[in-house]
């Protein structure tokens, strides 16, 4: 694994060494600084889930966040989010040891961004590779593509217009991911005498989308740790 990682780093270094003009660590440091302004926040969210095998009504919830990586989801009704989509802050990722490689310039929604690949160096890290599209003017992340050790690659697109806050927090997020289709034994599903799904689509995995709209941010008002402990009950 380590040999593979080193080879990966060398290959990235070779391909990008000629075009590398910007310091990726500096760009990431600026982003960290910007996100560090947000010590905690509470935000109302509207969730829309679009996954082939999962039919969920649109829901409303509240997200509590506290640095560095405490997150709590709360809702009066049922609410569901992909695990990786709960926290969009880069602080968790950038707290670990990593190697950053500047790849190129790109445009996201008309905004000029620097594309930076981040390879975590710690064995315990859950992520193999993360690519960040960073708006250098505002020091915010506009797109993330990540490959975790377990599960498929996912991408997050963040939009910041009309977020109603001066902090670098998004107004909406589109989370796109690949997920394995579920196959439950009939004993659990209770479908003893129902026929198999008429669907001819036998692909093992499917692409899902979850869109989240954020509103009513309350930033740096202080959140007691008990809010997050409650979640672990």
């Amino acid at each position: 694994m380590k040999v593979l990682l080193i080879l990966l780093i060398i290959s990235f270094s070779l391909t990008s060494s000629f075009s590398q003009k910007k310091d990726p660590d500096k760009i990431l440091e600026d982003v960290k600084k910007t996100f560090n302004e947000v010590k905690d926040y509470v935000v109302d969210i509207d969730i829309k889930v679009d996954v082939d095998f999962l039919k969920v009504p649109d829901s409303k919830a509240k997200i509590y966040y506290k640095q560095p990586n405490k997150v709590h989801l709360e809702s009066e009704s049922f609410a569901l989010l992909p695990k990786e989509g709960l926290d969009f802050s880069p602080l968790g990722l950038l707290e670990e040891k990593y190697t950053a490689i500047y790849e190129k310039e790109d445009t996201v929604d008309g905004n000029k961004t620097a594309v930076i690949k981040v390879i975590p160096l710690e064995d315990e890290s859950n992520v193999v590779l993360t690519t960040l599209w960073i708006d250098e003017a505002k020091h915010i992340i506009r797109r993330v593509e990540s490959t975790p050790k377990i599960g498929g690659t996912f991408s997050i697109e963040l939009k910041y217009d009309k977020s109603g806050t001066k902090y670098p927090l998004p107004a909406s997020m589109l989370f796109t991911f690949k997920v394995d289709k579920m196959e439950l034994p009939k004993g659990i599903s209770g479908e003893y005498n129902e026929k198999e799904s008429k669907s001819k689509d036998k692909k093992r995995s499917t692409t899902g989308k979850v869109s989240v709209t954020y509103s009513n941010y309350k930033v740096n008002n202080g959140i007691p740790d008990s809010v997050f402990e409650e979640k672990k009950k």
Binding site: F53, F177, L184, I188, S189, S197
Partner: protein
């Protein structure tokens, strides 16, 4: 006619075996609910394990609706026995008691008599399903409160908003009542054939068990037979817990089941009308 049905209902509810079904449901439903109160979280955790691998979710999924759904799933397979216990006794019971001849000497036509007995049997069946609905939904909501309903199928998971569930249960229980009416009609038909109530009860259960097994096994030869077995349509109440609901399939199932009710009753009435009453 209503007077005769009332008399038949009085006769049904005069027998203690009539209450076996109500008592069985009254005992079983709270037992399941208490068990779910103690271990429901673990069961739900097991049911949603696949989902938990990719998603984080919050909300009250262990609620009265889920418990009622699980109970309805389990009991619709076993309630036919409780239905047959009474419906199989409606005509044959008169023979066993030696009251057949006395009964048909009354100034009521045989058709009216058999029809009123049949309606009384259907009313009992519907009351049994209503009792199940009241206990499982009512008690479930009192103990577990309401919430979103999670329905886990072999390849899909559907979560219904809490405001989108109750009407599905009403229709599902209505459909379950129709399914059980088919069982009652079949037991009634067998009851018209013999002079002893045990035979119709056992025969009805034997037919249901054989048909349910054939309906459940996915072998080509059985799959060819399945559309002709009424048991294949008895679980169609589950279609109300689908999104979108296949109303055409539900209507087809309703027509087939209602057709069976009419056929079994018609045959029972024909047999009873031509029957030599010797007891």
């Amino acid at each position: 006619m209503i007077k005769i049905i009332n008399i038949e209902l009085y006769k049904i509810f005069k027998k203690w075996r009539t209450y076996i079904g109500f008592i069985a449901i009254a005992v079983l439903v709270p037992i399941i609910q208490v068990a779910m109160l103690i271990e429901g979280e673990q069961s739900l955790d097991f049911m949603t394990r696949n989902l938990q691998q990719s998603f984080i979710f919050v909300g009250n999924l262990l609620n009265g609706y889920l418990i009622s759904y699980l109970i309805l799933n389990a009991l619709t397979i076993h309630i036919p026995f409780l239905v047959a216990l009474v419906a199989g006794d409606l005509l044959a019971g008169e023979a066993t008691a030696g009251t057949y001849r006395l009964l048909i000497t009354r100034p009521v036509s045989r058709f009216k008599l058999v029809t009123s007995k049949f309606f009384a049997g259907i009313i009992y069946t519907n009351l049994l399903v209503l009792w199940l609905a009241i206990l499982s939904l009512g008690l479930g909501i009192i103990i577990f409160s309401v919430g979103e309903l999670i329905v886990i199928k072999t390849s899909t998971v559907i979560i219904f908003a809490r405001g989108d569930v109750f009407w599905r249960f009403i229709l599902a229980y209505g459909f379950a009542a129709l399914s059980m009416s088919v069982v009652a009609s079949l037991a009634f038909l067998f009851s018209a054939l013999v002079e002893n109530a045990i035979g119709p009860i056992v025969s009805t259960m034997a037919v249901i068990i054989v048909f349910v097994i054939i309906s459940a096994i996915e072998i080509n030869i059985f799959e060819a037979i399945q559309p002709y077995l009424f048991t294949s349509y008895m679980a169609s109440w589950r279609l109300f817990f689908d999104d979108p609901i296949d109303f055409a399939e539900i209507a087809k199932s309703c027509l087939i089941l209602a057709g069976h009710v009419l056929f079994f009753f018609g045959l029972a009435a024909y047999i009873f009308k031509r029957k030599d009453i010797l007891t």
